[in-house]
C-alpha cells in the first residue's frame, strides 16, 4: 500500500529478545552460511546504505542483525558476524543495545576500508565475496566500495537472501502476528472514536496513539475525508465523513502488518467479499495474477480502478511489500510459507468499504494468521 512515509522513524526502538532471541538469528546465519558454502563464497558483505535512522530498506540487515540502521555486515565462515557502522561512535552504545551481535565497530568515515581490514584480519585476503545491497547504492558509493575491494571477486547474493527470507520462520510469523494485533487494536480504537461521534481525523489520531503505545516503531494511517479517497493526516482537516474508511500499517521489531476498518460496519461488505475471493485463490504454486483475477472477477467495472490503484496486497514481512505484489500482470507464483496481506479498497461508490486480511501460503490454501497479543508492556 502506498502510504505517506514519515520522517526518520522514531517509535519504540528496542530489541525484544523474548520475541526474537539469539538462537533465532543463529539459525538464520546458519542458513546463509550453508548457501554461501554451496556457492563457494568466502564471505558475505551486506551493505545497508541508509543513513542512521533513515530506515527505509532495512529488511536484509534486520534479518541477520536485527537492526534497522545503516552499515556493513561482515559474515565469514567461522567467526561471528560483525557490523561496521557508518557513524563515528556517538550512537554506537545504542546500536549495541539493539542487536544480538557482539562485534559492532565504528566505520570512522571509511566503513568499506574497515570491512576489508576485518576480512584481512580474519585471513580472507582474496576470493569470492557475496554482496547484498550494492544495487541500491548510489553510483559513486558503489564504485568506492568496489575499488576498496579490488582483488576480491564480488558476487551478488541478493536473490539468494531474498529466497531465504521468502518463507517465514515460526518466530517471524509470531512477530508479524504481534504487529497484526497492534494494527487491529489501532483500527478498533479508531472505530470506537468514530462510532462515538468523533471525526475522521480524531479517529486517525487515536489509532496512532494506540499503535505507538503498543510498541509500533513506524505507524502509517490513511483515512477518507470528504472526497472519498484515502488521505494521510494533514493537520487541520476536520469534520465527520461517513462511512469512515481507515487503513493502518504498523511495524514492530521490523515486521509489518496492516488492518482496516469501515465504520459503521457493513455485513458482507464489497471489500470483505473481494478479500474473501482472493483468499480462496491463494495456494502455493498459484500465480499472483490468479489471486488478482479472483478479486477483479467479482467487481463491477466502477470498482476495478480503485481496487487496482490502491493495490490488492503483497507479500509482507520485513518490508511492507516484501518481494512481490498481487497484480493481474504478475507471473510470480506464490511460494509456500510466504505471508500475504490481501486488501480491497472500494471508494466512490455506495459500496464504499475497506478490508484486509493476513494469510500464510500453504499447499492446501490460505491459512489465516491470527493477531497475537502478548503482555509486552
Amino acid at each position: 500500500m502506498i502510504s505517506m512515509d514519515t520522517v526518520l522513524k522514531r517509535g519504540y526502538t528496542a530489541w525484544d529478545e523474548e520475541i526474537l532471541p539469539v538462537d533465532e538469528f543463529d539459525e538464520r546465519i546458519r542458513a546463509v552460511r550453508e548457501a554461501m558454502r554451496a556457492r563457494d563464497l568466502d564471505a558475505l558483505l551486506l551493505i545497508n546504505y541508509s543513513m542512521l535512522g533513515a530506515m527505509y530498506e532495512y529488511a536484509n540487515i534486520a534479518y541477520l542483525a536485527g537492526l534497522q540502521s545503516g552499515g556493513a555486515l561482515v559474515l565469514t565462515p567461522d567467526d561471528p558476524p560483525a557490523l561496521i557502522t557508518f557513524g563515528g561512535g556517538r550512537e554506537l552504545f545504542f546500536t549495541r543495545m539493539q542487536t544480538w551481535l557482539d562485534e559492532v565497530l565504528p566505520g570512522k568515515g571509511d566503513t568499506y576500508r574497515a570491512a576489508r581490514d576485518l576480512l584481512a584480519a580474519r585471513g580472507i585476503t582474496s576470493g569470492a565475496i557475496a554482496t547484498v545491497g550494492l544495487g541500491s547504492m548510489p553510483d559513486a558509493a558503489r564504485q568506492q566500495l568496489e575499488s576498496t575491494f579490488e582483488g576480491y571477486r564480488l558476487e551478488a547474493f541478493d536473490e539468494v537472501l531474498d529466497t531465504l527470507r521468502q518463507s517465514k520462520r515460526p518466530r517471524e510469523i509470531m512477530t508479524i502476528g504481534i504487529a497484526k494485533g497492534i494494527a487491529d487494536d489501532a483500527a478498533a480504537a479508531a472505530e470506537r472514536v468514530f462510532t462515538n461521534g468523533g471525526t475522521n481525523t480524531q479517529a486517525m489520531i487515536e489509532a496512532e496513539r494506540i499503535a505507538r503505545r503498543a510498541k509500533a516503531r513506524d505507524v502509517r494511517i490513511l483515512a477518507n475525508m470528504d472526497g472519498g479517497a484515502l488521505r494521510p493526516f494533514e493537520g487541520r482537516l476536520a469534520g465527520r465523513h461517513a462511512p469512515l474508511l481507515l487503513w493502518v500499517g504498523v511495524q514492530y521489531q521490523g515486521y509489518w502488518a496492516e488492518a482496516a476498518v469501515t465504520a459503521p460496519r457493513v455485513e458482507r461488505s464489497a471489500a470483505n467479499e473481494t478479500v474473501a475471493a482472493m483468499q480462496a485463490a491463494v495456494r502455493s504454486g498459484a500465480r499472483c495474477s490468479d489471486v488478482a483475477v479472483a478479486a477483479l472477477s467479482k467487481a463491477p467495472d466502477d470498482r476495478r480502478g480503485a481496487l487496482l490503484a490502491y493495490g490488492l496486497g503483497s507479500a509482507i514481512g520485513l518490508s511492507h511489500e516484501d518481494g512481490f505484489r498481487i497484480e493481474p500482470e504478475s507471473d510470480q507464483t506464490l511460494p509456500a510459507g510466504a505471508l500475504l496481506t490481501l486488501r480491497a479498497v472500494i471508494t466512490g461508490t455506495p459500496e464504499a468499504s475497506i478490508a484486509t486480511t493476513l494469510v500464510a501460503v500453504t499447499e492446501q490454501g490460505a491459512r489465516t494468521i491470527e493477531p497475537v497479543r502478548l503482555d509486552l508492556s
Binding site: 502506498i2 502510504s3 505517506m4 512515509d5 514519515t6 520522517v7 526518520l8 522513524k9 522514531r10 517509535g11 519504540y12 526502538t13 528496542a14 525484544d16 543513513m51 535512522g53 533513515a54 527505509y56 563515528g88 561512535g89 556517538r90 550512537e91 554506537l92 552504545f93 545504542f94 543495545m97 544495487g135 541500491s136 547504492m137 548510489p138 553510483d139 558503489r142 489520531i205 496512532e208 496513539r209 505507538r212 503505545r213 510498541k215 472526497g227 472519498g228 479517497a229 484515502l230 488521505r231 494521510p232 493526516f233 494533514e234 493537520g235 487541520r236 482537516l237 480503485a306 490503484a309 490502491y310 471508494t347 508492556s377
Partner: protein, 388 residues
C-alpha cells in the same frame, strides 16, 4: 479556501510559491538552464530536501513527484500515486499529472511531459534533494537525451533564506513544539515507560496540527547520548532528553530539552547553565555574514574554558546546529562546513553534548538570523525542567 489551509494561510502560500518560481527562474537564467526538474522522493526525512515540495507547496504521498519548471512557460507538477489526484488538485497551483507509483511509469510520464512541451532539446537541470534512489538518478541521461546539470545548489540558495510561507510554518511548528513539551512535563511521571511518554508527546502534537514529528526521547541516570524511546521505566533521578521536532507543511522545527524526574540537582543545574551560556554565545555570534566555524568557536569557548574542551568534539557531540529545511540543508553549524549566516535563515542551534559529571545534556533552540544575531523562535528558551 484551499483545503487544509485557512484563507490567510492560502494567500501567503500562493504569494510565496510565486516568489519561489520567480527567484528560481532568475537563477536558471543566470546558469543557462531552460528547464528545471525539481524532484521529490517522498521519503520525508530531513536528512535531505524535497525540491518538488518546495516548488509546489504540496506534500506528496507516493514515492515520486516532480515539478517541471521552464524558464518560460507554465510549470507542471507530476505526482504519484494516481489516486492522490483529488487531494493534490485541491491545492494545485499548476497543471497536474497523476501517475502510477512505479519508477518506470513515473519516469515515462516525466519524459512524455518534457517531450510534449518541446523541452527535450533544451538545457535541463535536475535537483533531487540528495535523496534520489540510484534507479532514478541513473535514469535521467537516457530519459532526457542529455546529462542534466545539477541544480541542488540553485534550489538550496533560494530556500535557505526563508520566505513568508516558510516562516509562517516554522512559527506554527515552534509553538506546537513548546506546547507539546509543556504537556510532557505536566503528564509524565516516574513509572511510565519511555515509549509511552514518546507516544503521548507525539499525539499531543498531532492534536495541535503537526503533520509529522521527529523525536529522540530517552532517559538515564547518566545519558551517553539521546536516542529513540525504549521500554525503560522512568525513575526518580532519571534525566530525560528530548529532541522534539514537529513539522508544519514540511517545515520542521526542533527544540532540545532536558528534564529530571523529581527535579534537577545543583550539579545538573550548573552544567546545564554552562550549555545555556554556550548557546547564548553562539546566538550572539550568528550575525549575517558570519561563517559557521565562528559560531562553533563561540559555542565551544565557554565549554572549553570550564575544562571540557575534549568534550566539544565527536563522539561526545555531533554538531552545533543544523537546518531541517524543506528546500535547503544549510546551515550545518560545524567546523567542516563553509556555510555563512544570512538574514532570515532558520535552523536549530544546539550545544547538546556529554559532560562527564552529569552525562549528556540537551539545550537547543530553533533560531532565525537577524541583524543583531540569532533570535529564538520559541516564546521561552529551554531550562532544565522538572518531571513529576
Amino acid at each position: 479556501m484551499t483545503a487544509n489551509l485557512t484563507h490567510d494561510d492560502a494567500a501567503v502560500r500562493a504569494t510565496s510559491l510565486t516568489r519561489r518560481h520567480a527567484a528560481v527562474r532568475e537563477a536558471m537564467q543566470r546558469d543557462g538552464i531552460d528547464l528545471l526538474i525539481a524532484y521529490g522522493n517522498g521519503r520525508h526525512a530531513f536528512t535531505g530536501t524535497n525540491p518538488a515540495w518546495y516548488l509546489s507547496g504540496f506534500k506528496q504521498l507516493g514515492p515520486h513527484a516532480a515539478v517541471l519548471l521552464p524558464a518560460d512557460g507554465e510549470p507542471v507538477l507530476l505526482i504519484t500515486p494516481e489516486w492522490d489526484y483529488a487531494r493534490c488538485k485541491e491545492r494545485a497551483s499548476m497543471e497536474l499529472v497523476a501517475t502510477a507509483p512505479e519508477t518506470r511509469t513515473f519516469l515515462a510520464a516525466v519524459a512524455s511531459a518534457v517531450k510534449q512541451r518541446g523541452w527535450l532539446e533544451q538545457r535541463i537541470a535536475v535537483a533531487g534533494g540528495q535523496q534520489q534512489e540510484a534507479a532514478t538518478a541513473n535514469a535521467w541521461p537516457d530519459l532526457l537525451g542529455q546529462t542534466p546539470l545539477d541544480a541542488e545548489k540553485l534550489i538550496s540558495d533560494q530556500a535557505k533564506i526563508r520566505d513568508d510561507w516558510s516562516l509562517n510554518c516554522v512559527r506554527r511548528a515552534a509553538a506546537i513544539a513548546e506546547a507539546g513539551y509543556c504537556n510532557l512535563l505536566e503528564t509524565t511521571h516516574a513509572g511510565m515507560r519511555e515509549h509511552h511518554v514518546a507516544a503521548e508527546l507525539e499525539i499531543s502534537m498531532r492534536e495541535l496540527g503537526a503533520e509529522d514529528n521527529f523525536q529522540l526521547l530517552s532517559a538515564s541516570q547518566h545519558n551517553q547520548s539521546g536516542h529513540f524511546p525504549t521500554n525503560r521505566i522512568l525513575e526518580r533521578g532519571d534525566l530525560m532528553l528530548a529532541e522534539i521536532t514537529p513539522a508544519v507543511e514540511g517545515e520542521f522545527v526542533q527544540i532540545c530539552r532536558s528534564a529530571v524526574v523529581g527535579g534537577p540537582s545543583q550539579l545538573q543545574l550548573e552544567k546545564f547553565a554552562l550549555l545555556e551560556k554556550a548557546l547564548k554565545a553562539g546566538m550572539r555570534a550568528a550575525k549575517p555574514g558570519t561563517p559557521v566555524s565562528e559560531i562553533v568557536e563561540a559555542i565551544n569557548a565557554p565549554i572549553a574554558a570550564a575544562g571540557y574542551e575534549r568534550y566539544t568534539k565527536p563522539p561526545y557531540m555531533r554538531t552545533r546546529g543544523h537546518s531541517m529545511g524543506l528546500g535547503s540543508m544549510e546551515p550545518e553549524v560545524s567546523l567542516y562546513h563553509d556555510h555563512f549566516m544570512h538574514k532570515n535563515m532558520v535552523f536549530v542551534m544546539h550545544p547538546n553534548q556529554y559532560i562527564p559529571e552529569t552525562g549528556y545534556l540537551m539545550c537547543g533552540e530553533p533560531v532565525i538570523i537577524a541583524d543583531a544575531g540569532a533570535v529564538p523562535l520559541t516564546s521561552e528558551m529551554g531550562s532544565l525542567g522538572t518531571i513529576g
